[in-house]
Symmetry: C2
Subunit: 406 residues, 2 copies
C-alpha cells in the first residue's frame, strides 16, 4: 500500500463526463489498496473565460484580484470531482489552496509554495477518504489568495507529494509519457520508461512541454518520484527520478530536444578588450531581454564577433539596442537571423562517456548540416543550425544514437 | 461622514457592464465622504449554472461540496467589482467569506453567521479603500466553506453592518422600496418612506418578498438601520428601523400584505373535550405539515369545528391525515378549500389605536366580502377570504385606510 498523489490537467477534467472518468481511475487505484490525493486544474477553457471576464471589467486588473477570480476555476473542479467520487460510493473531501494552508509568497500570479499544512489531509486519508486539492493556488501569510502561474498545478502536486512524503507523484496528461524526441518530427520516437530529473529539466527547458520546469525542479529537490501518464489510455508512462544507476548499462543519450523559438543576433568586429561582453550584454539585459546561448569568436586583428540567441519575439528589439551602442563599442555591424533552431542531445550518460560531441558533429556533417553555434553542459550538447535542417538533423541524430531501440 | 454597508443582488451585478454601474454608484457615495463596504451576490444565473453542473456530477451532491462550488459565484463578482472600482481610480479590495472570517455554524447550505473579524475591513477603510465582501458565504470553525442559503447576501450585509457598527445598511434591489401593498393589485400603492422592523417582518412573512426575513430579524436584533433602494433609479427608498416615534403622528396602518399560497382545512363536528386540538394537530405536525392560522368554533351540542390553514402544496396531504384520524376523533367530516387568500393589515399604530379591526371588517362587509377566518396579533390583523375577492378587498382596504396619501 502506497501513498500516491495524482494530478489531472484541464483537458482531463474538461467536462463533467471526463471528471467522472477521472473518478473511475482514482477508485481503480484506490481498490489496489493505495491512499490517493488528487490535484486538479480548472476545466479546460475556464481559466481563459475568467481572464476574459476580468479584462472586460478592467483593462489592467490588479494581480491580487486576478488571483481571486481565477482561483475559482479549480475550486469548481475539486467540488465536482469530490461529488463524482461520492456518487460512486467513494468517500472524498475537497480542499482549496487556503484550506490546506498552501502557504506561498505574495507574488500574485507567480507565487512560490513555501509550506503546506498536511494535517487535515493525513487525517482524511486515515479515515479512508480520497482527498481532492485545488491545484495552482495558495494563500500568502496575510490570507490573500495567490496563484502559482500557468501550469502551476504540476507544482502543487509535487509540493503535496513532498509534504506528504508520497511514494509517487503521477501527472496525468494527454500524452502517455516522455519521448526520445517529438514524434511529430521523428515517427520512430520512443516512449522512455525512465529518465532522470536532470535530463527531464533539460528536455523540458528545451521545449518538450510535458511538465512544468518548476515542478521537475521541485521533485528533484525533494526526491519525489514523478510519473507522466496518459489520462485517456492505460500504460506505465515515464518515471522521472533521481536514480541514474539501477540499470546495468545507462543509455548514452535519453532524448533529443529542440527549440524553434529562438533567434540569433551577432555584433561583428568589436575591438576585443576586457569587459566587452559586459558592455554588449548590459544594455540587452537593461532592456529586459533574456539571453540563452552566448558565443564569442576571435575575428583576427584584435577584433571579435559576439553572437547570442534570444527569444524570437525579442530579436528585433535586441538589434535596436545593439545598434544604439554599436558606435560606442566601435563595432562594425549588427546582424540577426530568426530562421534558426536549437537542437540538443540530452543524457546523463555523457558524464561517463567521452566523444559524444564529436559523434554528434559527425552525424550532422554527414548530412551537410552546418553548425552555427555550439554550447555544452554536463548532460547536454546544443547546436544552433538553420531552421530548414531541423527535421533532417533530429532524424539523423535519433537514428545515429540508436534512440528508436529500447 | 458615515460608514455605509451596501448590498447589490444578482440582477444588479448580472453583467460586467452592470458591475461597472455599481462601481459608479459606490464611487458617487464615496465622493460624498462616506466609508463604503459593499456586499455582492453571484451574477444572476451563475448560482443556477453551478448547481446544474453539480447535479450532472452527482444526483445527490453532498451539502459540503455544494457549498464549495456555489461559493465561487460570489468570489467571481467581488473580484470583478474590485477591478471595476480600481479601473475607475478608486482603491478597493475584495474579501471572500473566509477572508473576513465570516464564522458560521456548520449547517451547510443554510448556515447562520456567528461572528465576523472586522479588523482587515476597518484597516482598509482607514486607508481609503472600498471593501468588497462576498455575500451568502462563510466558514465554519473547521475551515469548511459554508453558505447561508438563498438570499443570504442580505444577511451578510446586515451582519457586516452590525459588526462594523455601520450607520446604515443599504439593500439595492430591482424595486425602489417597500410599498403599502403590491402595486400590481393596487395601482395607487405608495412607496413608504419608513417602516419599523416589526412591520417589515409581518409584511415580508406575508409575501412582500423585497427582503429576506432573516436579514430583517438580524437588523432588528442589532438595531441596524436598513434601507431598501433601487439599483437602477435614484431615490430615497424605504428606511426600516426600530424607531416608531419620531414622526408626530404615526400612521395607523403601514401596509396591506396578502398571501395566495395557503389553503383552508376544516374538521367538523368533533366532540369537544380537553386535548382535542392536540389530537388534531399532532398527526398534522407528525406529517411535517406546517400550520399557519388556527380557529376553533363551537358548533353546538358539545361539538366543535376546527379550522386551520396550511401551505397550498400540503393541503391534500393534510386532508389525508385527518381522514385517517377522523373515526378515532369521532368527527363528522373533513373539508378543504384551496381557493382562499389571506389578507393582512400591518401597522404599529394598532398598538395605540382601538377599533381598527372593526373598521376593517366594516370595509369588507360594505363590499360584501365574506370573512372565513380571523387572526390578530399586536401589529397585524389577518382575515381569510375567498380568493376571488382578493383584488376587491385589497383595494377597498387601501382606500378605506387612506394608504394612498402620505
Amino acid at each position: 500500500m502506497a501513498l500516491i498523489v495524482q494530478k489531472y490537467g484541464g483537458t482531463s477534467v474538461g467536462t463533467v463526463e471526463r471528471i467522472g472518468n477521472v473518478a473511475d481511475k482514482v477508485i481503480k487505484m484506490r481498490e489496489q489498496g493505495h491512499d490517493i490525493v488528487v490535484t486538479v486544474s480548472a476545466m479546460s477553457g475556464e481559466t481563459n473565460r475568467l481572464i476574459e471576464l476580468a479584462k472586460t471589467a478592467s483593462e489592467r486588473p490588479s494581480a491580487r484580484e486576478m488571483d481571486v477570480i481565477v482561483s475559482t476555476g479549480e475550486q469548481v473542479t475539486i467540488a465536482l470531482l469530490a461529488m463524482a467520487l461520492e456518487a460512486r460510493g467513494q468517500a472524498a473531501r475537497s480542499y482549496t489552496g487556503w484550506q490546506v494552508r498552501m502557504l506561498t509568497d505574495s507574488a500574485h500570479q507567480k507565487a512560490r509554495i513555501e509550506q503546506i499544512d498536511s494535517e487535515a489531509i493525513t487525517n482524511d486519508l486515515q479515515q479512508g477518504r480520497v482527498v481532492v486539492v485545488a491545484g495552482f493556488q495558495g494563500v500568502d501569510s496575510d490570507n490573500n489568495i495567490t496563484t502559482l502561474g500557468r501550469g502551476g498545478s504540476d507544482t502543487t502536486a509535487v509540493a503535496l507529494a513532498a509534504a506528504l512524503k508520497a511514494d509517487e507523484c503521477q501527472i496525468y496528461t494527454d500524452v502517455d509519457g516522455v519521448y526520445t524526441t517529438d514524434p511529430r518530427v521523428e515517427p520512430d520516437a520512443r516512449r522512455l520508461d525512465k529518465i532522470t530529473f536532470e535530463e527531464m529539466l533539460e528536455m523540458a527547458s528545451l521545449g518538450s512541454k510535458v511538465l512544468q520546469i518548476r515542478a521537475v525542479e521541485f521533485a528533484g529537490k525533494y526526491d519525489v518520484p514523478l510519473r507522466v501518464l496518459s489520462t485517456f489510455e492505460d500504460g506505465p508512462g515515464t518515471l522521472i527520478s533521481l536514480d541514474e544507476d539501477d540499470t546495468m548499462e545507462q543509455a548514452l543519450i535519453s532524448g533529443i530536444a529542440f527549440n524553434r523559438d529562438e533567434a540569433q543576433v551577432t555584433i561583428k568586429g568589436v575591438p576585443d578588450h576586457p569587459g566587452v561582453a559586459a558592455n554588449i550584454l548590459g544594455p540587452i539585459s537593461d532592456a529586459n531581454i533574456e539571453v540563452d546561448m552566448i558565443v564569442q569568436n576571435m575575428g583576427g586583428k584584435g577584433l571579435t564577433d559576439f553572437t547570442f540567441t534570444v527569444h524570437r519575439n525579442d530579436y528585433e528589439r535586441a538589434v535596436d539596442v545593439l545598434e544604439t551602442v554599436q558606435a560606442e563599442l566601435g563595432a562594425k555591424s549588427v546582424v540577426a537571423d530568426a530562421k534558426i533552431v536549437k537542437v540538443s542531445l540530452v543524457g546523463v550518460g555523457m558524464r561517463s562517456h567521452a566523444g559524444i560531441a564529436s559523434r554528434m558533429f559527425k552525424i550532422l556533417a554527414d548530412e551537410s548540416v552546418n553548425i552555427r553555434m555550439i554550447s555544452t553542459s554536463e548532460i547536454k550538447i546544443s547546436v544552433v543550425i538553420d531552421e530548414k535542417y531541423l527535421e533532417l538533423a533530429v532524424r539523423a541524430l535519433h537514428a545515429g544514437f540508436g534512440l528508436e531501440q529500447e
